[in-house]
Every structure is written in structure tokens, then in C-alpha cells.
Amino acid sequence: MIRSIYILGEHNHIIYSKEYAKVESKEALIEFLINLSQFIRTMDLNSKTEYMNIAMMRLFYTVRNKYAFVFIADKSDDTSQLEEKMTQLVDVFMREYAVLPDPSLKMDGFDAKVDEIAVTMVKVAILGYAGVGKTTTLHLLRGETLPLVHDPTIGVSIKKLPEEISNANIVLWDLAGQQRFSILWGKMLANAQVVVIVTDSTLENVLKSKKLVQLVHEEVPDAKVIGIANKQDLPTALTPERVGQILGVPTYELVAIDISYRDRLIQIIRKAILEGKGDAGN
């Protein structure tokens, strides 16, 4: 996912920047960008997009005429997709702004175009057997009133997360857990970047849910998978550590009917999205 975008002009000053996520040690980064911009101008990049890895980030850059363009993205990002986005950005800029006498003065309207290019959609699928609290979790994430009765989901319920996480629109897919709907799971998981496997933390349910972890690995091998040990308020609940051990994926505790868990849960999902699969082993 793109964390920030910079365009540097002729004298290696920044004429446009947009930050979607907090950038760590920003001053050092900017100094680095200025040096980089100077450096890549002297190289013949042939308007190709190149990239380099810095810690957990991946920096994409290219030059067109007097301008240098930089994306700060994640290592887990798909390079070809980002190269494509870079091309789009460069094209828009060169066509509409570079022709102006001083582009840095007249960038209105550019922001919206940048958003169009940089903002992505992230699909988070919520999977688990019937009644474990998936729909409750969805409502919790959306900050809605929490239903106290089990009204089984039919097929799938798809809702946006009101917050953007960095520059991604999050779409939550709350899959129906009843056995008869299991024929849909495979198709519904397609293209999910994150899969949240919800359990009600009873031994029986957690053991059964191992099958879901398996299914997810088969259907969407590139997705980041996390477990949820829900219903921690009930006496039958296994600890999240135990649930995590059984499922074999990083697992977090939850009481989905308790609103105070909301921020924590959003942080967990944010982390899962930013880390992606690339970090799964750590």
C-alpha cells in the first residue's frame, strides 16, 4: 500500500507531497529523497520505474523530464501494481501540471487525482462457524449498536469500515457460518488480503476451526490470516494463547459484545493489513 507520494522539481525541492500514513523520521527521509532525486537524475532511467528496499518499506522512483517521482510503499506490495500506479501518476502530472509555468503554485485538483490512483481497496474476510460472533464483530468494528440475539447471516454481508486505514478503503466480508453456506466460502474468500478467523474459544469450536485455517491457506495463499478468540467473557473460554497454538496463526482475544474492545480490534486489523503476508513468519 502506498504510504506517501513525493514529486521533486528541477532544483530537487519537493513540489508536491501527500502522506497517507505516518512517516517515521521524516527529516531524514526528506534529505534522503533529495539526494536520491539528484542521483537518479544523473542516471539514465529511461522513464522506467525502479525500486529499492529500506527496512520494511519499498521505495519506488522514476524520473520524467525535470521531475522525480517517489512512492513510499510496503515490501509486501505487488511491484507490478505499483509500477502501474506510478505510470498513471506520472502521466496525469506531465499532461496537466508539468505544462504550467510553476506547477507547485497551481496544484488544485491534483490531490483528488492522486487519491484516485493511490487509494486502494482492501478486502478483509471474516470467517468462522455459526454463532461464534462474526456479525457482532462486524458491528463492533463499524461502531454500531451490538445485536444481542443470533440472527444468522444469509450468504454474506458486505460493509465498509468507516475509517480508512492508511489510504485503503476497507471492505469487510462477513461470511455466513451455517454449514449449508460452506459451499460459498471458497468463492467469497477470493482476493481477500486479510482473513480473520473467529472462534468462540470453546475447545470444540477451535478444533473444528483448524479446518478453516486450512481452507484459507488453500484458497487465498497470499492472504494474511489472524485468529480471534472471542467470547472471552464466558467461563468456557480457552485463553487466546491456547487458541492461537491450536489454530497455528497469530490470535487475539475479544469480547465482541463489549464496545471497549473496538479500538484494539481496529489496531489489530490495521497491523494485519500493513504487514500483509510478508511478515507472517516473524
Partner: protein, 370 residues
Amino acid sequence: MPEAVFIVNLDEFQGFIVSQKYPPSIVLNERVLNLIFYELQKKKKEQANVIEIDGMRIVPYTDEKHPMWFVCFILGENEQYNEIVEEIEGMSRLILMLMEDITERIDLEYIFTNRLKLEKPNDEQICAAIFSTPSSALLLEKIEDECLERSARLALWLKSQIQSDDVDLREAIMPLMKAGIVNVEMVAKTAEMVFLVKDIFTYRAPPTRALQAAKESHPQISDWYEEQIRNFFSPPPPNKGYNPTIQTDNPNSPIMEDRAKIAKFLAESKYYEIIKCLREGPCSLDTLVRRIPFPKQLIEKALFKMMTERIIANNEEEGLWMLITDPRVDIFLPEFALKLIVRKYKEKDVSKEIALRHLDNLIEVWREAG
């Protein structure tokens, strides 16, 4: 007459999207769309079925090529499903095909109120469709060489050819089975065998029927028309005419490439419907638009595409389109199979039982024919 029609797409990010509906006043909610999708997943595709949801009787339709799209009709109160199922399937096929070819919205109202349909693919199209799937076309060549082979070995061979573990023999062989080119059978409970029972040949034939029709209906162009055909099949020397029977094993040879092209024109309805009309004789664009349920622009585009491939020609003076080569796919008895079966038996590659089963298969398929 159904009350309404709507088209739904299951988008991998946004979920169910009703992409078009008629009449525009119909209201649909997520639950209804979910239940329709669920019922479709349970049932066999390419066959409409009635589902009752909230007092509505809905008939959804989807096909293998568009698993994430479905077309739904809402039945009228006293409507008998059996009486209109064919019509619904025909309209659905047309809508799905147009969705693929047209970037703008399709004219759903026009299709719905005029009951425009696309027929089921016929035998000719089913045979031609083999060449639309590269792994199936590849498999066909292999089976033509082997005549009979164990499924397991074919699966290995296919994997090595395509260099991927994702390729599925079942999927690749399905078009061949549908076209009746091979039979797949368990022999003696041990070996699943693939038997070649028909051979297939695609080529361009001279459009004799269309030319004959032109002589009667449009005598003013028949000489011109005949010349176009002659130029293709037997042009004056030193040019060589079309000869589809030249033997070649090179998959990149022009003749092989041409066969694949011909198959594509037969398999894809947007071309095939036009070819079917032109086989009966020359037609103007207006006539084609009247006879074929596609929008004019689509027909025009298909015509120009076929013209560049020398399937058809255009007489601009008379405003007429006509076939100069008739794309054909023919089915033959694979006589060479018998020799190969015997050889494989002698070399102990296959058992007597398997060899006899293959012979039985051939006899069964060809007994009635000829």
C-alpha cells in the same frame, strides 16, 4: 411473460452489484441476492430453475464462462415456468454474451420486450470450442497421436507441457468429451482410459450454397462474387490457392494458426450467427441487423474483423456482405486408430481388454453413422 429482469455481478471487493435491471422500479436487497447466489451454487449451471424468495418466483441463470455473473427473471403471477424456460434461457445466454462484448450498458429493455434470444451452441460450435481452450487444443493433438492413453499419463504429460501444476486434466478434457471426440472410461477397475472415437478437422470450404443463392437472388453480383471465391481458392499462378490438407506438425505454421482462427469464428456467437446467415446467401447490413439479435455496432465490428481474415467480402456498390470461405469443422472416423490400437497391444502397452473396449467404443459411436 416474466415481470422483470436483472443482471447481478458478484464483485470480489464490493460484493453483489445489480448492474442493470428492467423495469427500473424493481427493488432488490442483499438477502435476496445472497439467496439466489446460494441456490445457483447448489445447482447445475446453464439450466434455469425457479427459486421462491419472499413470495417472488425468481429464475436465475449463469454459465461456466461467467461464474460471477447471473441473469435473473421474476415470473409473473400465473406464469408457468415450463412454458417459458426456453425463452428465459435464450435471453439469458444473449445477455451474458453481450455483457462480455459491449462496454456500454446493454439495451435490456429492448431485449426483454422483444424476447431476443441466443440459441444453445450447436454441435458445430461445441466442436469448435475445443480450440478456444489452449490446453484442450494441445490435448487433442496428443490424443490424435496416441489414440488411447491412460488418464494418469495424460495428466502428467499435460503438466509437463504447460509447466504448471495448476492445469487440470478434467478441465482440459471436458470440451473434448462434450464434443464427443473422446470417451473416458474405467477399464477393469484399474485404469481410467481416454479413447479417441472421432477425429476433427477445421478448414475453409468454398461457399457453394451461398454462391448458388446469389446467382438467383442477386445476379448482378454473382460474377463478381464467384471471382472473389476463385481468387482465394485457386488464384492465377504463381500464387498458390488454399490447401488445408498440407501435412504439418509445426504448431506455429500458418495453416495451424488459420485452423485456430476458423474455430474461433465458429465458437464465438457474435461471428457464428453472421456466418449462419451468410451461408444462405449475401445479405445487407440491415438484413443482418434484422435477423441477428445483436446491436448494429457489434455486427459491424464482427463483419470487419471477418473481412480482414478473408472469411467474408463486402460488395460496396450493392451494400452486400457475403462469405468467400465457409468456416467448417468436420468429424471423421479415425481409421488410423485401429492400426495404433493393434500396435499398442502387440507392444504390450495396453491389455487385450483395453484394446477391445476401444474397438467397442468406436463401433458404438459409428454404427449408426454413414
